[in-house]
């Protein structure tokens, strides 16, 4: 491991940061620990239930932190710090209204149905509720998109490491991917989850120093805001809601309806409640109460993630000004200035000496690995349970499916690596694959939520609604690609910018999915109520929490998180 790292470091060309021996030692210790955890857990992974569902034995804390960590990639850290430099505090919407309500809704409303139905996956729930066609449509699209997204993340991470540290792209891709493959193959989802919790702690320890020292340098929050106003007198970077009355009043070019309905409702609920990558972590909880608490614990930590992601971007606005200001990628190439995508590594270089720098880089690597492990473990589960078992080999012994899980984890990693190299050759493919992923999220939420809350929804309604919503999303995306002026109609304003497209496209595709599902359901015969037990509200007996004291009830903690969420939005209005 150390040799490999040394090889990487020896090939370093021009770079933003230089690692010392101490920093390399920090990185080596990290790799040793995550592989050690994988080896340790191998002996506890003897059945397919262990491998794919971590034995359904996780506590609320472990499931909740892993639920959040699977979403915290290194690109997430760097990308949103850059977005905060570009758009100001508006980027926080993706962490607050774009996550908290959906996570609480998952915990309180949806989790009982996912958990009581004992499904292994979200496509598995669709099978129970709507039948095989809806499951296959969902499983195939999810599986393909997941490994492709994973490949894009690998490539992006390798690029980041090349830009920051001058690491060789090939070494970055292979070493990080094979390490993830090793610990997931050895210990399955349990190993992925344990490492995600470890990585979550490292991300915080590695990233938290930047805002702390940054606030000392700028004179606290008020000092930072004063400096931003001084550096950018015509921009409004420090208000969350007050500039969203009109598309042209804020640097993002969005309207509050897009943020609330598009991001806060459709996109956020779609991602946090139906994307199996994150939902899988909660399904591993050891009982229903833990399963309900896990997203609530995740939400409480999600609320403070802007401290390590958005605040460094805002501090960048206060610190890097004049000749040192950060600019867009193309301008950076033309002028020699730094790009705002580099704001986080620039802050690391500014404040972190030997050891702390290694910790910061470890945080970025940990973020990437937790995201990748999430992708490949979710892919392995969906492939084995929702494609291979129902369509290819129905009645194999359990050991066969366990072995299949291990092999398709390796396969998932290899496809991801292949995608990374494909993207390296055809860079424009990145935008297309990311768009592909967004096509399915909003309609899938419509299909799942109608299935859970309305017993009249039929199998035909669910399938055709999902298909219509997905196709309409593809149609709108193509419309804007062919004629950019179409955004005027989709976002309902000629002043809408690119950022508004995703929100309104998600909203329309969700509405189309729901309308088609309702119309077809009313025209077709529903399942009898007896077949909907454990799947639908009104047909399922939810275990009472009456015997629990107030502070043990998930609804109590969800209410506290919701109140803090409202207060934060008012404070930063």
């Amino acid at each position: 491991m150390a040799t490999a790292l040394a090889l990487i470091l020896s090939e370093a060309p021009a770079k933003l940061l230089s690692l010392t021996f101490i920093d390399v030692l920090i990185l080596v210790l990290y790799f040793v620990m995550i592989l050690g955890i994988g080896f340790y857990l191998k002996s506890y992974t003897t059945t397919s239930e262990d491998f794919f569902m971590a034995g359904r034995s996780m506590t609320a804390w472990v499931a909740g932190l892993s639920f959040l960590a699977a979403n915290l990639g290194s690109l997430e850290l760097m990308g949103w710090a850059a977005a905060a430099y570009q758009y100001g505090i508006l980027a926080t919407h993706w962490y607050w209204i774009g996550a908290i309500p959906a996570m609480l809704f998952l915990g309180i409303v949806m989790m009982p149905f996912y958990y009581i139905s004992k499904t292994h996956s979200v496509p598995g729930y669709l099978k129970l509720r709507y039948g095989e066609p809806a499951r296959v449509l969902s499983a195939v699209t999810f599986g393909v998109m997941t490994v492709m997204m994973s490949g894009i993340n690998i490539y992006s991470m390798a690029l980041v490491m090349k830009a920051i540290l001058g690491w060789n792209i090939n070494y970055s891709i292979w070493i990080s991917s094979l390490t993830v493959a090793a610990y997931v193959v050895l210990g399955g989802l349990r190993s992925a989850i344990f490492n995600e919790v470890l990585q979550f702690v490292l991300i915080w320890l590695g990233a938290m120093l930047i805002p702390i020292i940054g606030l000392v340098e700028t004179g606290g929050w008020s000092g930072m805001v004063a400096r931003i106003h001084q550096n950018f007198p015509n921009g409004n970077y420090t208000h969350l809601w007050s500039t969203l009355g009109h598309f042209s009043d804020n640097p993002m070019g969005v309207h509050w309806t897009g943020i609330v309905l598009g991001l806060g409702f459709v996109i956020s609920f779609g991602y946090w409640t139906t994307d199996f990558l994150v939902v899988q972590r909660v399904l591993t909880a050891r009982d229903l109460r833990s399963a309900k608490m896990a997203p609530i614990i995740g939400a409480s930590f999600k609320m403070i993630v802007p401290f390590i992601v958005i605040l460094p971007g805002l501090l960048g606005l206060a610190i890097f000004s004049g000749d040192h200001r950060l600019v867009g990628e193309s301008q950076a190439v033309a002028t020699g200035l730094h790009s705002y995508n580099e704001v986080l590594p620039l802050m690391l270089a500014r404040y972190c000496g030997p050891g702390l720098l290694g910790l910061g880089i470890t945080a970025l690597l940990a973020g990437f690995m937790s995201g990748m492990a999430g992708n490949v473990s979710a892919f392995a589960t969906v492939w084995t349970y929702d494609i291979y078992r129902p369509l290819i080999r129905k009645d194999a012994p359990d050991s066969h499916y366990l072995s299949m899980g291990r092999w398709c984890t390796i396969l998932g990693v290899l496809i991801s690596i292949g995608t990374a190299y494909f993207v390296m050759q055809f860079l424009s493919i990145m935008d297309y694959v990311q768009a592909l992923f967004s096509f399915f999220i909003a309609p899938l939420f419509g299909t799942v939520i109608l299935g859970m809350l309305w017993k009249r929804t039929t199998s035909a309604g669910g399938f055709w609604g999902l298909l219509a919503g997905t196709l309409s999303s593809v149609g709108m995306w193509l419309w804007v690609k062919i004629d950019p002026h179409a955004l005027t109609y989709i976002a309902l304003s000629p002043k809408a910018r690119d950022m508004a497209e995703n929100m309104y496209r998600g909203l329309w595709s969700w509405i189309i999915c729901v309308v088609v599902t309702v119309i077809i359901s009313l025209m077709t015969t529903p399942k009898p109520a007896s077949e909907l037990n454990g799947l639908v509200y009104g047909c399922t007996e939810i275990p009472s929490e009456g015997h629990l004291s107030l502070y043990q009830r998930p609804i109590f903690w969800a209410t506290i998180v919701a109140v803090i969420f409202v207060i934060l939005n008012v404070v930063f209005w």
Partner: protein
């Protein structure tokens, strides 16, 4: 806070790594007090390595003690 069938808690592993990091980072921070680097970071006078490393030592030590496999048995 760990799965019932695990002998060693995940929090113990976290304690091990954070404690080891605490030792390394504190040592590097103390070394920098006596041997000034050629290109010090901004606000190097705060000696972040020392107090952040010490914080990690304490945090890691707490987890090592609290979730020690011997103690849990």
């Amino acid at each position: 806070m760990h799965a019932e069938d695990e002998r060693i808690s995940i929090w113990f592993f976290i304690g091990m790594l954070v404690f080891a990091y605490g030792i390394v980072i504190t040592a590097a921070g103390i070394y920098e007090i006596f041997v000034r680097p050629a290109h010090p970071v901004v606000l190097a006078s705060l000696h972040a390595g020392v107090w952040w490393g010490a914080f990690m030592l304490i945090l890691g030590g707490f987890y090592l003690y609290k979730f020690s496999p011997k103690k849990e048995k």
